[in-house]
Amino acid sequence: MSELGAAHGAERARPHSPAKANGAGALRALRDRMHTVLPGLYAWLTTVALPSVNHSAPSSARVTAFFALLALLAAPLFAGARPWLGRALGIFGFIGCSLLTWLLLGSALVRNPGDPVLSALGAVAFTLYALGWGSLRRRGVVPEDAPNVILGAPLQPRLRPHPIAPFVFGLILVSALVPVFLAFRVVEAERGLFAHAVAILAAILTITVGARVATGLGQPRELPASAERLNAAAVPLALLALLFGLGFLWLVVR
C-alpha cells in the first residue's frame, strides 16, 4: 500500500461521532440510489406535491403526500442493510401513498395547474423510477470479477446484427408509438381510457414482433419451401382476406 493509501486508510479508520457517521452513511445511500431518488423526486413534485398544495386540496392529501416523500427518501437508507424494507418503502410505500393522495384529492387533481404537460413528464419520471428499482450493476463492478464466473476465452456472439437493423427497429418503434399518441386525442374519459389500453397493447405487440423482425434481418435462416410457408401463414392471411372482403362490402353497402 502506498503512503497516500495508508494515510487515506488511517483517515477512514479514525473513529467519527455516531451522528456524523450516520449522516455520511445516509448521504452515501442517497447518492448510490440517485437513479431512483431523482426521478422519484421529480415525479412526486409534479404529480403529487403540486396538486396537494392547491387551496382546494384536503389536508389528508397533504399528509399522505408528505408520507410519500418520507417513503421515497427513507427507502435508499434501508436498501443496503435490509433490502426487503427498502423495496417495501420505495415501491409500496411511495407508490401507495401517492395513489392515496390522488384518491383523496379527487376533483382537485384535475385542476392541477401544470396539467397536462407536467403530468405527462411526471408519468415519464414514474417510469424511470420503476426502472430504477430493477436490479442494476453497481458502478465500478465488473461482472467478470464475480467468483462464479467460468474462466476461459470470452464467448463470441454467433451472429451479428445487420447494419440496418437499428434503423428498422427505430422505424418500427416510432410507428408503434403513433397509436399511443393518437389515444391522447380521445376526448371522452371512458373511451379515452379504453383507447389508451388498446394503444399500449398494440404498441407492445408491434414492438415485440418488430424486435424479432429487426434482429432476424439478413440472418441466414433455413426457410421451408414456399408452399409450407404459405400454409403456415394461411389462417391469418385467409382471415385477413375475409376482413378486407367484408370491409369492401361495407363500403359498397354504405
Binding site: V186, T206, R212, A233, P236
Partner: protein
C-alpha cells in the same frame, strides 16, 4: 428470397401499426365498428408477419 421475406415482414409490421393507429383514431371519433375492424386487421397482419418469419413446427 430471404431479402424479400425480410422486406415483406417489415412492411407487414409497419402496416399493422398503421392499422392500429387508424383503429385508435376511429375509436376517438366514436366509429366503433370501424375501430374493431382496423384493430382486427392490425392483429391479423402482425400474426401474418410472425408466421412468415417463423412458421410453426406443426405446419412444416
Amino acid at each position: 428470397m430471404s431479402k424479400v421475406v425480410d422486406a415483406l415482414s417489415i412492411l407487414l409490421v409497419l402496416g399493422a401499426s398503421l392499422a392500429f393507429a387508424v383503429g385508435v383514431a376511429a375509436l376517438g371519433e366514436r366509429r366503433d365498428l370501424s375501430a374493431i375492424y382496423w384493430l382486427a386487421v392490425g392483429g391479423l397482419v402482425l400474426r401474418a408477419a410472425v408466421e412468415l418469419l417463423r412458421p410453426r413446427s406443426g405446419a412444416r
